[in-house]
C-alpha cells in the first residue's frame, strides 16, 4: 500500500505540488491525470525516491521513504519499477542487456533463465528479434516498450508508469493497456500510471485521480469520471480547449 500525506514539492520559489493526500491500495491500478506541467512526473519520482519532496510523507508498505536510511530505501526500491517518460534506456547496452539489467542486479536467476525471461518480456510488449540492437536503432515507441519490458522483467511489486502509451499507435497502446491489466490480475502488481490517453486510462484504471495546479481536484472510479459534473475533469476528459483549465495561447478562434 502506498500512502501519501501532505506531499509538497517546490523548486526554488516555484511550487509544483502543494500538499497532496491519496492512497494506492494493494493490487489496484491508480491512474493520475493532469495537464502538461502539473507535476505528475515529479510526483512519481518523489514516490520512488528519485526526488526529495519538500514536505510530507510517503509510506510504502508502512515505511516512510522520506525518513528511512539509504539502506532501507534500497530494500524498498528493489520492489519498485519505474517506466520513464522518455524511456531512459542505457544506450551503451543492447536491448537484451537493458532488459536483463534489473534481473542481474536484483535477482539471482541463472544466465539461461535470464535470457528466457528477457525474451518473454520482450514478446509481452510485442517485440521480437531485436535483442541485439542498440537503443539508438529503435523508434520512439519501440524504446518505450523496451523500457516497459525492462521494468516488468524483475517482477516488481509496485510499478510506476510515466505515460506508458504515449507515442504508441492505437493498437499497440491497447496491447500495453492489456499488459498492465494482466500484471495486476496475475501478479498482483500495484500500479500508478500517469496518462494522457483517456481510452487507456479508462480501461486500466481502478481509480483515477486528477491533478490540477498542484492539488488533487478529483478522485474516483472511471465510471464516476464519466458521471462527474466537475468542470475541470469534464474539460480534460473531453479534451476541449474551452473551459476552466486555461490553455495559455496567444490566439483565439
Amino acid at each position: 500500500m502506498i500512502k501519501i500525506r501532505n506531499l509538497s514539492k517546490s523548486f526554488g520559489n516555484k511550487r509544483v505540488l502543494s500538499g497532496l493526500n491519496f492512497e494506492a491500495r494493494d493490487g489496484e491500478t491508480l491512474v493520475i491525470l493532469g495537464s502538461s506541467g502539473t507535476g505528475k512526473s515529479v510526483l512519481l519520482k518523489s514516490i520512488v525516491g528519485l526526488m526529495k519532496p519538500t514536505n510530507g510523507s510517503i509510506m510504502i508498505n508502512g515505511a516512510d521513504i522520506t525518513k528511512c536510511s539509504s539502506m532501507e530505501l534500497h530494500e524498498i526500491q528493489k520492489k519498485m519499477g519505474y517506466v520513464f517518460q522518455e524511456a531512459a534506456l542505457f544506450d551503451s547496452l543492447t536491448v537484451e542487456e537493458n532488459v536483463a539489467f534489473g534481473l542481474t542486479a536484483l535477482s539471482d536467476l541463472s544466465k539461461k533463465e535470464t535470457t528466457k525471461r528477457v525474451e518473454e518480456c520482450l514478446s509481452m510488449v510485442g517485440l521480437k528479434g531485436i535483442e541485439k540492437l542498440k537503443p539508438s536503432d529503435l523508434s520512439g515507441g519501440m524504446k518505450k516498450r523496451v523500457a516497459i519490458a525492462r521494468t516488468i522483467a524483475y517482477r516488481p511489486q509496485y510499478i510506476f508508469y510515466d505515460e506508458p502509451t504515449t507515442g504508441l499507435d492505437p493498437i499497440m497502446s491497447d496491447v500495453i493497456s492489456d499488459l498492465i491489466i494482466y500484471l495486476r490480475d496475475n501478479l498482483k502488481v500495484t500500479s500508478l500510471a500517469v496518462s494522457h490517453d483517456m481510452k487507456s486510462a479508462h480501461k486500466i484504471a481502478d481509480r483515477i485521480i486528477m491533478l490540477y495546479k498542484g492539488d488533487i481536484v478529483f478522485e474516483g472510479t472511471p465510471k464516476e469520471v464519466d458521471e462527474t459534473d466537475n468542470a475541470i475533469v469534464r474539460q480534460f476528459v473531453s479534451g476541449s480547449s474551452q473551459g476552466p483549465i486555461e490553455a495559455e495561447r496567444t490566439f483565439q478562434l
Binding site: 519520482k45 520512488v48 525516491g49 528519485l50 534500497h74 526500491q77 528493489k78 519498485m80 519499477g81 519505474y82 520513464f84 522518455e86 531512459a88 534506456l89 542505457f90 544506450d91 551503451s92 539489467f101 534489473g102 542486479a105 536484483l106 525492462r150 521494468t151 524483475y154
Partner: protein
C-alpha cells in the same frame, strides 16, 4: 547624494553577496566531490567491483591512449635532446649532459605532466561527457530504480582504471621519450647510445623514479574525480553536457599544473627526489 550612497552600498553588498555565492558553490562542489570519492572508496573496500567493466575501462583508457601518449613524449624527447644538445654544443663545443638532463626532466616532470594532460583531454573529457549524457537523459535515475548504485557502477571502474593506467602510461612515456632523445643525440652528434644511457641512468635512483610515479598517481586521482564529479552534476541537456565537459577538462588541467609545484616541493622536502 544619499540615494547615490545607498546605491553604492547596495552595489557593494551585491558584489560581496556575489563573491560569497561563488565561494559557497566552490565549497559545495568540493564537498560533493569528496562525498563521491568517499563513496567510491567505500565500494572498492567492500569489494563490490565489476571486473568486466573495470577491464574494459582499462583497455579504453590505457591501450587506446597509448599511441597519443607515446607520440607526445617521443616528439618531446626528440626536441629536448635537440635543444639541450645544440645549447651545450654552442657553449662547450660538444653536447654534454644531454642524457642526464633528459632523464631528469622526463622522469621527474615531463613524463607525468604530459601524460596527465593528454589523458585529461582524452579520458577525462570522455568520462564527463558519457556520465553527463546519462545524467541528463535520466539513465542515472534508471540505474537507481534498477537497484544499481551509479557510483558503484560508473565511477568505481573508471576510478580503478585511471588509477592504474595513468602511472603505467607515464612509465611508458618516460621510456619512449628517452628513446626519442637517444635517436636525435646519437644521430646528430658523436655520442654513442651507451654513453647517452650511462649519462641518464648514472645519477638517477629509485627515488627519482618514485618522485614521478607518486605524482602521476596523484594526477590520476585529480583527473578521474573531477571528471566523474562534473559528469554526475551535469544538467540541462546537450548544452549542459558540453559545459560540464569543458569545465571538467579546464579544472583538471589547472589542478594538475598548480598542484604539481606543491607536490614536487613536498616530495623534495621528503627527500624523494
Amino acid at each position: 547624494m544619499s540615494i547615490n550612497k545607498t546605491a553604492n552600498i547596495s552595489n557593494e553588498i551585491g558584489f560581496f553577496a556575489h563573491l560569497l555565492s561563488i565561494a559557497y558553490s566552490v565549497l559545495e562542489g568540493i564537498g560533493e566531490a569528496a562525498r563521491m570519492s568517499v563513496e567510491t572508496f567505500f565500494w572498492i573496500f567492500r569489494g563490490k567491483i565489476s571486473i568486466s567493466n573495470t577491464v574494459s575501462q582499462m583497455v579504453e583508457m590505457g591501450w587506446r591512449s597509448l599511441p597519443i601518449v607515446a607520440l607526445t613524449s617521443f616528439s618531446t624527447g626528440m626536441v629536448i635532446a635537440l635543444q639541450v644538445g645544440t645549447a651545450t654544443t654552442n657553449m662547450f663545443n660538444e653536447p654534454i649532459f644531454v642524457g642526464m638532463i633528459m632523464g631528469f626532466s622526463l622522469v621527474l616532470e615531463l613524463g607525468p605532466i604530459l601524460t596527465a594532460v593528454v589523458v585529461t583531454g582524452r579520458v577525462g573529457a570522455a568520462i564527463t561527457a558519457e556520465i553527463g549524457t546519462m545524467k541528463v537523459t535520466e539513465q542515472i535515475d534508471a540505474l537507481y530504480t534498477l537497484g544499481t548504485n551509479p557510483v558503484k557502477y560508473l565511477a568505481v571502474p573508471r576510478f580503478l582504471a585511471c588509477l592504474t593506467m595513468l602511472p603505467l602510461l607515464t612509465v611508458i612515456a618516460n621510456i619512449v621519450g628517452m628513446y626519442g632523445g637517444l635517436i636525435v643525440t646519437t644521430s646528430s652528434w658523436d655520442v654513442t647510445a651507451a654513453q647517452f644511457m650511462r649519462d641518464a641512468l648514472d645519477i638517477m635512483t629509485v627515488k627519482t623514479f618514485f618522485h614521478g610515479f607518486i605524482k602521476s598517481i596523484f594526477f590520476s586521482l585529480i583527473i578521474v574525480i573531477t571528471a566523474c564529479h562534473k559528469g554526475f552534476n551535469a544538467k540541462g541537456g546537450a548544452e549542459g553536457v558540453g559545459k560540464a565537459t569543458t569545465s571538467s577538462v579546464m579544472l583538471s588541467l589547472v589542478l594538475i599544473l598548480v598542484s604539481d609545484y606543491f607536490l614536487s616541493s613536498l616530495l623534495v622536502s621528503l627527500r624523494i627526489k
